[in-house]
């Protein structure tokens, strides 16, 4: 994936945690602790989803970029993202 957006990950993660909290809840067998287990699943989903959301929102549109050492830049420029470069120049 050359270009990341917010939409695809957002949909994927929301679906995952939504599945965990809603669908899995249906399958918990009827026992004394059913309500507590459902509470656990919902709390877990909310916490994890919120944490991921904060992480992705924080670098959605950054005001500054990483400051790299020249050795690192040289290495990344030549060896690491060569594919990216080719894809990018092909699409231009």
């Amino acid at each position: 994936m050359a270009h990341h957006g917010l939409t695809v990950p957002l949909i994927a993660i929301s679906m995952f945690w939504g599945f965990v909290s809603f669908s899995v809840s249906w399958f918990i067998p009827k026992s004394l602790s059913r309500v507590v287990i459902i509470t656990l699943l919902v709390t877990c989903s909310i916490c994890c989803c919120l944490f991921w959301l904060i992480a992705i929102l924080s670098h959605l549109s950054l005001l500054f970029g990483p400051q790299l050492k020249n050795e690192t830049s040289w290495y990344l420029k030549h060896h690491f993202l060569v594919e990216e470069d080719m894809l990018y120049s092909a699409s231009r």
Binding site: A12, V36, F51, S61, L63, G65, P66, L76, D85, Y88
Partner: protein, 829 residues
Amino acid sequence: MGSMFRSEEVALVQLFLPTAAAYTCVSRLGELGLVEFRDLNASVSAFQRRFVVDVRRCEELEKTFTFLQEEVRRAGLVLPPPEGRLPAPPPRDLLRIQEETERLAQELRDVRGNQQALRVQLHQLQLHAAVLGQGHGPQLAAAHTYAASERTPLLQAPGGPHQDLRVNFVAGAVEPHKAPALERLLWRACRGFLIASFRELEQPLEHPVTGEPATWMTFLISYWGEQIGQKIRKITDCFHCHIFPFLEQEEACHAALQQLQQQSQELREVLGETERFLSQVLGRVQQLLPPAQAQVHKMKAVYLALNQCSVSTTHKCLIAEVWCATQDLPALQEALRDSSTEEGVSAVAHRIPSREMPPTLIRTNRFTASFQGIVDAYGVGRYQEVNPAPYTIITFPFLFAVMFGDVGHGLLMFLFALAMVLAENRPAVKTAQNEIWQTFFGGRYLLLLMGLFSVYTGFIYNECFSRASSIFPSGWSVAAMANQSGWSDAFLAQHTMLTLDPNVTGVFLGPYPFGIDPIWSLAANHLSFLNSFKMKMSVILGVVHMAFGVVLGVFNHMHFGQRHRLLLETLPELTFLLGLFGYLVFLVIYKWLRVSATNAASAPSILIHFINMFLFSHSPTNRPLYPRQEVVQAMLVVLALAMVPVLLLGTPLHLLCRHRRRLRRPTGRKQEDKAGLLGLPDASVNGWGSDEEKAGGLEDEQEAELVPSEVFMHQAIHTIEFCLGCVSNTASYLRLWALSLAHAQLSEVLWAMVMRIGLGLGREVGVAAVVLVPIFAAFAVMTVAILLVMEGLSAFLHALRLHWVEFQNKFYSGTGYKLSPFTFAAADD
């Protein structure tokens, strides 16, 4: 787990136990472990209670048990645990147990005494034999010559004292550490008149009492003169030496030795018989003692519980008041019915209303027990208030993980906890005595969840032993930056640090889909980004957590029927919290979404906006985030400040109004209330259900105890605590940032200073491999000791503090007490 959300309903139950069946009923209740007895004889001292004689008998029996146990332990045997569950024996069995135990104890004492005496005798015989057997050859020879020349004067001495130059002998044995002192004293006291020879025995003899081997020293003193003889005897008496008659002639010596050997042989046989008998007795003790101990322990507990009941002479029964969970009432009634029909009488149990706060009962299983434990460590909840434990099961490990986030460390913690959980049923693990291990073992489910969440947050922070991993391709393209800004290799060689600019097209390709971009771990300014991210994250999590706490208070108000508090307390609290700090969260998210790199130079600063919001001032250089921002902010501050007097005065004024309205009602109603006020604890009011009990109790409480100044004071304290607490607690959540930063930095330092040096050493495979072994060992030890144990404990403590103070003081009072049922379970384990 059942309903962990609030305490179960607990009722006060009055039991009428007929005297004949009282013991069996209470013993049955102890087996079930359902009820907690209330002490109805609190004003009576322990010596004046009804069953004090029985309790004393049990205690004496326990003393004998302790003696028997000590004897068994001394013999090196082990008491087997009692098999099966033995009920408390009926009182008539106590006599039988007492007799048997006394008999065994007496036998044991006799046998032990005999054994001691025999051993002492044997020891004496052995010493005597050793003394006789010890060859003091030259001395004897010298003595013979002296004896031979006893009639001729030694030196040309003038008669007198040297007339009786008959040589005498004193033979004996002395303990080795006293021998030099004895020798010295003899020399000083009787110098020149004696010859003493000390010799050590080759074999050590066992001390009869302690059983320790000691090598004795035998001595042979030849002296002349009566006075010297007396002196020597006195000295040897002082030193507690064993003196034996010495026979000069060889034959007499041999004969005596043989006799001694025969005697000691016989003695040894008798000793053997005694020890066999002793082991028999001990075997009987081993059989009898464990069940008897368990039974008497239960009996004593039953009598102590019976002592707490009050006696009703008119009805010939005991009256007990117990706290019992409403769910368990049928079981309680059935147990009473069963145990009393055996005796042919019937015991009765019925609910009575109570003015006191019942104890809290929350049933947990082994998973939820540790989480309930950490909530209870702060304070056991009031009866039927909201229990934070079910939410804590997730939020506590989550907040821990935010401060601890690292995939590698989290995985280690998870595996350690998993090992403990999988091995939890092994008996070796259960009976371990080490306290520190017990602490870790008790919290194994806690550690399991903490490790699991740490792995998750580790993936989000993109840290595995402080290394980042590119699961997805990074969102930053250096190549694009290099092409666009002309970063040729020569250019790179000249400039040591270069920054990627997100404004340049193609450099920033979008946010990393899951977590933090791995390029930040290579960047020199990664802390600038991470600090900003983590601080904002802490504030967001903090505001959400605290708002959740305030919302949980709603459930309390609804359950206790105090709906006025919803409007007069919860609403102002939420408005204050969300209006100020919820708005801060809004600003943070708005800036993340709206402000981009294109106008990065003039980006607004949230901090300055927030400060200006409170000071109602304006910074010209700080551009607003959205139009009419100042108006909105001013409105919010005014609204929040307006909520403070509502919070301060709302509830007290409402309570006062209600109190006055009630006083103005007709007197008939008041009489009824008065009767309710005077209701005695053991009045049998059968018709009261739980709702009426609750409402009635509350009404009486408010009527009887409405003191205006107290109510206003209480509310003022609550208001100040909440409002100031909002500010300080939000800032307190910044510890999430601080600790996660500390953990990341420690982890990075450990890697850079230890492992990277190890991995960068030497080109040859052999050298690097050999050197890497101790380096990795050092890395592993420091990781476990510093990062897992120290940082883990630190993050645990801070997560605990965040829960106890910042979260729970929004809704939890924690001033209750636990239901501790009367049970024999401790005796059975």
